[in-house]
């Protein structure tokens, strides 16, 4: 826009010109968004709508669909193996989310206090390593480590705990915690490095004055680290909670949901229902419940985070 636009009242024809130009720019702008929007609409939004639609039908994927209303949802609540996947998902949150975030906070503050130099840098890189490998690989590696002749039992025997060795992933009581351990291995480094980076942004004089006052590790941790890292903690919780609720790769490879249904999570059950049992409607209803569940759990965390930021 030239400077006289502001001083001289535009004539009628000028208004039309301006109007057209703005209109043209809007169209060009939308053309920039269009490719991304079309892909997103075709392969994300459309499937989302279809999942909701399928969830109201009984369908085997081949013959015509029959409308059943909310029956699929009722079935999920009635069948223990189906609703159980939701409980298992919450159990996994404990292992995939609370432990890595809690332990990550401790480790980050340890790095901050006693390993600011080379050791800290190496520790952060090493801890981060599992984050970049495929979750499938993590599942295969730990599937072997946790098996009867695997490393975990070897170490237990070596320290005199031979009596408690198990085929961890094949045990009804231990399979879920064992899968949880794999989650800790994958996610601990991510949380640690994120929190550790957040910690370097905290004003060092706070820690200085706390130490001059003779504050120990614990009081420093509770009084400074945790409150000031609320935002980073929120981010860690969001990422890890989604990883837990939507878990698929690790579980599929290490246990396949078994033994029985002891490690079956919604992702696994959706896959089995849809692609081996051909119960498309039921699988879709579970998928809808999973998506609602994620939003319901994530929203409060996001909310808290937003308030923290201001």
């Amino acid at each position: 826009m030239t400077s006289d636009d502001r001083h001289v009242a535009p004539s009628h024809s000028r208004w039309i010109f301006l109007h057209r130009r703005i209109h043209r720019e809007t169209i060009i702008g939308w053309l920039f968004v269009l490719p991304a929007l079309v892909m997103y609409a075709l392969f994300v939004l459309q499937p989302l709508v279809l999942t909701v639609r399928y969830s109201f039908y009984k369908w085997n994927g081949v013959s015509p669909m029959t409308w059943v209303g909310l029956k699929n949802y009722v079935t999920i609540f009635q069948v223990p193996d189906l609703i159980g996947t939701i409980f298992n998902a919450f159990w996994l949150v404990m292992w995939f989310s609370f432990i890595p975030v809690g332990l990550g906070l401790v480790v980050a503050s340890v790095i901050h206090r006693v390993a600011t130099g080379r050791l800290g840098a190496i520790a952060r890189t090493v801890l981060f390593l599992p984050q970049v490998i495929a979750l499938v690989a993590a599942g295969i590696i730990w599937g072997w480590l946790l098996s009867l002749p695997g490393l975990v039992n070897q170490i237990l025997k070596a320290v005199g705990l031979g009596a408690i060795t198990h085929a961890w992933l094949g045990d009804f009581d231990w399979a879920l915690p064992a899968v949880g351990l794999i989650g800790i291995w994958v996610l601990l480094g991510f949380c640690t490095v994120l929190l550790s980076t957040g910690m370097t942004k905290v004003d060092p004089s706070l820690y200085e004055s706390a130490r001059i006052d003779g504050a120990g590790w614990l009081s420093e941790f509770v009084a400074i680290t945790v409150p000031l890292l609320r935002y980073e903690i929120g981010v860690c919780l969001t990422v890890t909670v989604i990883a837990a609720l939507a878990a698929f790769d690790i579980v599929y490879v290490s246990t396949g949901g078994g033994p029985g249904n002891s490690t079956s999570v919604p992702g696994i059950q959706i896959y089995i229902l849809a692609f081996s049992q051909r119960a498309i409607g039921l699988a879709s209803a579970l998928a809808v419940m999973l998506m609602i569940l994620v939003i319901v759990v994530i929203l409060p965390i996001q909310w808290l985070n937003r308030e923290n930021k201001i």
């Binding site: 702008g29 939308w30 920039f32 490719p35 991304a36 929007l37 892909m39 997103y40 075709l42 392969f43 994300v44 459309q46 499937p47 989302l48 279809l50 399928y54 994927g61 480790v107 340890v110 790095i111 206090r113 006693v114 800290g120 952060r124 090493v126 801890l127 390593l129 970049v132 490998i133 495929a134 499938v136 690989a137 590696i141 072997w144 480590l145 002749p149 695997g150 490393l151 039992n153 070897q154 170490i155 291995w185 601990l188 490095v193 994120l194 001059i212 590790w217 981010v235 990422v239 989604i242 939507a246 698929f248 599929y252 992702g267 959706i270 896959y271 849809a274 692609f275 998506m291 994620v294």
Partner: protein, 274 residues
């Protein structure tokens, strides 16, 4: 340093223990991979006669060259396309602020919460109908779409912080919107584009669920998808399974060692922005 000696040692021991927890699994499968094929070795026992040939055999039976090509092809198809279209969208939403920007942004951000298993079923039926099921395109198209929420959000976060003076100066010089984008803003956005590219490459390489559901032929899959199939075949032959897993992991590990700083930075920024 005003830290007690005891605490110093306790802290360092904790770090060393955790590092061992991270590294030992890799060492264990490496040693296991050197045991005679078909045996069930135990723990961390170095084999009497290391079978380096296991790696050669795994390389052959896993059809590594084919897998590498397939995975590379998928990454090369997904990442550049995703980068171009998400940068364009981020530019329009964050910098041009076209009417409807905030609605568009919310629409894309909403996608960040969607778990993959939630929408995989209709994708399967859509692709059967489109006739691309069991081809590499079956992985490429949905993956580009699934990256859009994150990628658009990421690029918009960059563009929204660009000073408007740059654009105004270019406009005065008579630049068209496309020139403004391609000549001025894309070169300025090189760093966030590079980070996003690294992230999407790793995610694509490691993508499993789409490969499992949409492509039956393991040689047309991503690396992670092929690994899943490989595990199915060699679940009982532990040394060979370990050798194959290591080979399939190797490219990611090498990339991580080479670009660790950029990768860690990108992953962290990604989560904080998201």
């Amino acid at each position: 340093m005003r830290v007690a000696r005891g605490e110093l040692w306790a802290g360092r021991s904790l770090l060393l223990a955790l590092m061992a927890f991270m590294i030992l699994p890799f060492i264990s499968i490496f040693i296991t991979a050197l045991h005679p094929s078909g045996t069930v070795p135990s723990g961390l026992e170095w084999p009497a006669d290391p079978q380096w040939g296991n790696f050669v055999e795994a390389f052959k039976v896993a059809e590594m060259p084919t897998l590498l090509l397939s995975s590379t092809f998928i990454v090369l198809a997904v990442v550049p396309v995703s980068l171009v279209i998400s940068t364009m969208a981020g530019f329009a939403i964050g910098l041009l602020r076209i009417p409807g920007s905030s609605v568009l942004l919310s629409l894309f951000v909403f996608g960040l919460t969607l778990p993959f298993p939630g929408i995989i079923i209709p994708i399967y039926f859509l692709e059967r109908a489109m006739g691309i099921y069991n081809t590499r395109l079956a992985i490429v198209l949905p993956l580009v779409a699934l990256y859009m929420p994150f990628a658009v959000f990421w690029m918009r976060a960059h563009f929204v912080n660009m000073p408007t003076e740059i654009s105004e100066a270019a406009r005065v010089d008579g630049a068209t919107t496309w020139q403004l984008f391609w000549r001025i803003h894309v070169p300025l956005a090189r760093a966030p584009i590079a980070s996003l590219g690294i992230l999407m490459s790793i995610w694509t390489w490691n993508q499993f669920l789409l490969a499992l559901v949409l492509v039956e032929d393991p040689t047309q899959r991503t690396m992670a998808g092929a690994l899943g199939a490989y595990q199915g075949h060699y679940a009982t032959n532990i040394p060979l399974l370990c050798a194959g897993t290591l080979l399939i992991l190797l490219p990611t590990l090498v990339i991580f060692v080479l670009f660790q700083r950029q990768i860690i930075m990108a992953l962290l920024q990604g989560s904080v922005k998201g």
